[in-house]
Symmetry: C2
Subunit: 513 residues, 2 copies
């Protein structure tokens, strides 16, 4: 796509056609400026098949805000809408509506609350709440979902991979397997959720981080094709990067050629006063090769250089590699924990695509319309009770138990104060008989999760730094019980309704049926 | 991301750090302008778990060319590189190299051959061949893979879904579940591979197509929240879009409310001289509901309005829906084929993410380096013979049998003429004993697949229109035996080497081991 088309494809028209169709209908029926509320939430955790998430990490908000601030209907966009025809050849969008879009087609009247990026989040909890004139709140849907669904999906995957790798250095290498320009959103989300660095140069620049990466097989191949050797290639690398020497050792034969050649170069570097950094393994039995490479490196006096693993890693593969190292290390006279402690993970495809479940099912549902100054709950009936959204203007609290652990997220009406309800009743969102009561003396905290981000279009949000998002993520993860954090069959975390919200939901369903 | 950062993140720095590390090494060792050849190919068809691809559809080239034409190192990009430090605090990229990038860091010296977009392609066949100065050919890798892997993945998925839906109208609805801005590349690829239209407004504009879409549940909910009814909402819609009236009928109850209300509105439209378009089903048992809705619509005298199906569709789900309709239709007095003929498919998440296999494993491998005017093959050894790339400067032919069906793609050396070899020997790429011979009188065609796209940076390619790509796709698919096209356990298509290329590969492996 050339840069002229990019302005078209990534601007205000970065939306679905039906948003515009509905907006015109609201305009024609006089509903376009009626105040409405949409909740954005996801319905279920990612399920990767053989393993499942028990929490998600929210991400994507900042880039959504940037998009909202810049998007507007350019004359070229309006001309495209003017040119759209219905099946009879008549204009699909009339000039009055196009004129309204030209004057009013921005997000300047919307108020937005959100759970900040980096926080642990759960299904059916509003992550974003949009209030404002119906037409523009509706048009926002597609872009909001696009920005928030994917980054939340990837931040979650990154958190899981980091957990599986015991918090050791994690690098995102996914750019080449991402969905085109989605690579940048994916890398950012990975950095929020669990990756320390990314190989993506431009995105690192934008995030204020150094980009990470060393060399590919092709560098060794070039030297060999010109009559040289792997050792020549390694020496050339060490010469150019004496303080950053990390060598990919599997172009020819890892244990018979790559690691011995790396050791030769590391010895030369050390004699010249430099500290070698490490080796990278990108094929074969990574667990076995890590143990054997560690053995060779130790024997040569390099017990501290890193061993970077890459090639189709994910949280389950890493778990298996660590298990295998724990079994194999002692056979080669090594301490398994020492081997594991020197590992670094380079994760590409399976991180940036969230392999196993490549989409978060985030939705954006109308939950209330303001009529004569009062919020009227809006309801969507479904044959599956789980899929009926929780109606009305709401708030969200995180309930902590006496140990300070988060035990439930509670949805209630905006004017409720759950701290004043003793006992606090937590209702299951759809099962009438499932509820529990907690007395206030067993509650150590009731944290309100949604913060105001846009007040009638004006940003009133102090954007957290990447460092702050990561600290928040670590705090939130620590507050979960370990069973909720585990990567397979996680323990179920409760998302509950207050009694008043439950009652409102039942009434709304009854009146709509 | 704000627009200033976008210029950084989507420009020349849209690459992996190691490409720049290697480029500097080549610069420092004087290899940076040595002519090299990289082949881009994928190793295996997408495997979606319960179903597998037997072919792919190439896509992404045009946007890669646009990116290559515009990307260059801006002063801000060079400053970022100047600021990068090694572990000792010294500059990672020295000023001489940065200066070289400033003057020479474009793709103007590269020659590129490719298999055009819309063509059927197979594993291990070079889809793109890049020749030119080593440093810039290396830097291109990440962006090339990013542009081509994803679009080829999605064009393939779209072709399969179209096949499963018997070529009926297919709409892409995936924008909200795509990887951020990757939504646009995904929609484009879907349009090349099998979708007729997309809901993505901006991308439709760029592609010169109308965008498609009607309304969401929220529109009905708004009317209901304000004291109105589903019928009121439908009437308003018909009033605004009398010639494009397609109604979503599952907000309340599909068969008891949605379809009857739609019929009421359709009757009113018909009396006013308009032709109603259709209904959309987005939840529940889509096969059963399609049959029952068709029954109600037929009884009301609307046997021709479309029934659009959406909600987690893919090629397998569609196959199952059609099977179920064939079983159920007669029970309700309907002709199954007539029901199937009026279906339209709106496919979102599972198309734009290629659900089941969310990444194509396309790679970019050094296969030759030019030394003293002659191409020296470059080899990469692997313990897995399948993973050893085919070395050298090559060409690719598609071999057709006496029936005009494509039976193999043949890789040979650039100076070979397989039409002159009788019998033509087809060698398996890695199995020494697997080969077959075809006499020339049983060959109806030997089509050369790679076309020159860039000649030393100058575009010498006549970009095909979307329509031309789709025609090529249909022709190529028709030339496959049906067993290769089927969506589960497809028949294996042969990719073979000429005897000379086989011999070169063996020699290269032997000399590198």
């Amino acid at each position: 796509m050339n840069s002229g088309d990019e302005a078209t494809a990534y601007g205000m028209l970065f939306t679905d056609q039906y948003q515009l169709s509905m907006a015109q209908l609201y305009y024609r029926t006089g509903l376009h400026e009626k105040e409405a509320q949409f909740d954005h939430f996801f319905r279920s955790y990612p399920d990767y098949g053989s393993h499942q998430a028990g929490y998600c990490i929210s991400a994507g908000l900042e880039w959504l805000l940037d998009w909202m601030a810049e998007a507007h209907f350019r004359e070229a966009d309006l001309d495209y809408l003017r040119g759209q025809k219905d099946r009879n050849g008549d204009r699909l969008f009339d000039e009055a509506f196009v004129g309204w879009l030209k004057s009013n087609g921005t997000f300047e009247a919307l108020t937005l609350h959100a759970i900040p990026e980096g926080r642990v989040v759960h299904p059916n909890v509003p992550l974003t709440v949009v209030q404002g004139p119906l037409a523009m709140a509706q048009i926002l849907e597609t872009s909001l979902l696009n920005h928030l669904n994917y980054q939340t999906l990837i931040a979650t995957k990154a958190a899981r991979i980091r957990h599986s790798g015991r918090g050791k250095l994690l690098l995102d290498f996914g750019m080449r397997r991402a969905q085109g320009r989605g690579a940048n959103a994916g890398a950012r989300a990975a950095l929020i959720g669990g990756a320390d660095f990314t190989s993506n140069v431009g995105l690192s620049h934008v995030m204020g981080l150094p980009a990470k990466g060393t060399h590919a097989h092709s560098m060794v191949q070039v030297f060999m094709a010109l009559g040289g050797s792997e050792l020549d290639a390694f020496r050339a690398y060490a010469d150019v990067y004496p303080n950053d020497c990390l060598l990919l050792v599997d172009t020819v034969d890892t244990l018979r050629s790559g690691v011995p050649n790396a050791i030769t170069v590391f010895e030369e570097l050390r004699r010249a006063g430099h500290q070698p950094v490490g080796i990278r393994l990108d094929s074969g039995d990574l667990a076995h090769l890590a143990v054997r490479a560690a053995q060779q490196l130790n024997a040569a006096g390099f017990p501290d250089v890193s061993i970077v693993l890459s090639n189709q890693l994910d949280e389950l593969v890493i778990l298996q590699i660590l298990t295998q190292i724990q079994e194999e290390a002692s056979r080669y006279g090594l301490d398994a924990d020492a081997v594991i402690d020197r590992l670094v993970y380079g994760v590409g495809t399976r991180l940036i695509t969230s392999a196993g479940d490549a989409a978060l099912d985030g939705v954006y549902k109308l939950v209330a319309v303001c009529e004569n100054g009062a919020w009227q709950p809006a309801i969507k009936i479904s044959e599956t009770p789980d899929k009926i959204p929780n109606p009305g203007h709401k708030r969200v609290w995180r309930v902590s138990d006496q140990r300070g652990r988060a035990v439930a997220d509670l949805l209630g009406l905006y004017d409720e104060e759950p701290g004043e309800l003793d006992p606090l009743v937590l209702r299951h969102p759809s099962e009438p008989t499932a509820q529990r009561s907690i007395s206030q003396d067993r509650i150590s905290g009731l944290e309100s999760l949604l913060v105001e981000v846009l007040h009638e279009g004006r940003e009133v949000y102090e954007r957290p730094s990447l460092e702050a998002m990561r600290e928040q993520r670590d705090q939130d993860l620590q507050r979960l019980y370990p069973g909720v954090r585990r990567i397979m069959n996680p323990h179920h975390y409760h998302v509950s309704l207050t009694q008043r919200l439950w009652d409102l939901k039942q009434e709304s369903v009854a009146s709509a049926s």
